[in-house]
């Protein structure tokens, strides 16, 4: 058969095919997805939304006068209480801290000495074992990273059709 004839025959046959009908589950599925989307949008909107005038937190200056006076009196009372109790509290705290320092100081000095020894040991190990090879090690790590990245990119492009990048 002539190619053009084949083209015509196939074209006519294909065009004569009845159009596929969507399954009856498609419409409810789409409407459910739309409802979900709307709910998600509403939820997202409520987080960043500016609160309505009735819901806005009221500042101290907008409080009723009685509340302002009451809160001011409470603040004064609290300040006076702190001023009255402060010298006694300071005495207690300072005496306790002096006592604590008396007992803790030797232990802290011991810990500092131990830490210093560990640091010295570490620096010796570093100088003897790691310092000579650290340059080569870094070069090797960089080369391996480049090779892995190149391999991953090639695999993603050739085998996965860029799917891994989406």
């Amino acid at each position: 058969m002539d190619p053009r004839e084949t083209d015509d025959v196939v074209h006519r046959a294909l065009r004569a095919l009845p159009p596929p009908r969507a399954p009856h589950t498609l419409l409810p599925r789409i409407m459910a997805a739309v409802a979900d989307r709307q709910t998600a949008d509403l939820r997202q909107g409520s987080i960043g939304q500016v609160p309505a005038a009735g819901q806005a937190p009221r500042t101290w200056f907008a409080w009723p006068l009685v509340w302002q006076a009451g809160s001011f009196a409470a603040l004064l009372l609290l300040s006076a209480g702190i001023a009255w109790i402060w010298p006694a509290a300071w005495n207690v705290v300072s005496s306790s801290s002096a006592l604590a320092w008396h007992f803790a100081a030797p232990r802290i000095l011991n810990i500092v000495a131990d830490a210093s020894a560990v640091v010295t040991f570490g620096s010796i190990v570093w100088d003897v074992f790691f310092q000579p090879v650290v340059t080569y090690l870094m070069v090797w790590i960089v080369l391996m990273s480049i090779a892995c990245t190149a391999f991953g990119a090639a695999l993603g492009r050739v085998a996965l059709g860029g799917a891994s990048q989406s």
Binding site: V10, L14, P20, A22, M31
Partner: protein, 182 residues
């Protein structure tokens, strides 16, 4: 009429068309449903613009086609790479025969009416490999030119022509067998 009711009427009007495009391109009903849902969600986002527009059908077709091609290139590339590693042209001819044999029902000797022929043709079309079916569908159903198909699929014009020719040959063989047996 509320927005939801208007959108429902919109989906009801165009769902067959969108699903048809997706089914013919993907040859898989479940994937076609997924893509149709994606297309209508996009339509919902722009419903104020396209809801009443006379270009809605064209817009939906374009979005559906692009979504299907995107779906094919992204989600099928993984298995297609491994399944097509050993595929060559000689192998393809055997596969074509297998498609035709699979599409021929056991009752081929009995008279086949037009409905059966159409079902068989649809069956052969759906069983064609992606690289033949997709350009064939774009050419015959979506009225795209060879150049447009090549640009859409990102392949050469020669490959588009070859693939469409092979797909057509498969369909012609199916039609010929049908006529011969009827």
């Amino acid at each position: 009429m509320t927005d939801a009711a208007r959108f429902e009427a919109f989906v009801r009007e165009y769902q067959d068309m969108v699903f048809g495009v997706a089914l013919r391109l993907l040859a898989n009903a479940a994937e076609a449903e997924d893509v149709s849902q994606t297309v209508f969600l996009k339509a919902f986002e722009r419903f104020s613009e396209i809801g009443e527009s006379p270009a809605a059908a064209g817009w939906l077709k374009t979005v559906a086609t692009n979504a299907c091609l995107n779906h094919l290139s992204r989600y099928r590339a993984r298995w297609r790479f491994f399944s097509e590693l050993q595929r060559d042209d000689a192998n393809e001819a055997e596969q074509l025969d297998a498609v035709l044999v699979a599409a021929v029902p056991a009752t081929i000797d009995v008279d086949i009416d037009a409905g059966d022929r159409q079902r068989r043709l649809e069956c052969v079309l759906q069983r064609l490999p992606d690289h033949q079916r997709v350009p064939l569908v774009l050419y015959h159903f979506e009225d795209k030119s060879y150049q447009e198909i090549a640009a859409l699929l990102g392949i050469s014009l020669a490959k588009v022509k070859t693939d469409i020719h092979r797909g057509r040959e498969a369909l012609r063989q199916a039609l010929t067998k049908n006529h011969g047996s009827a």
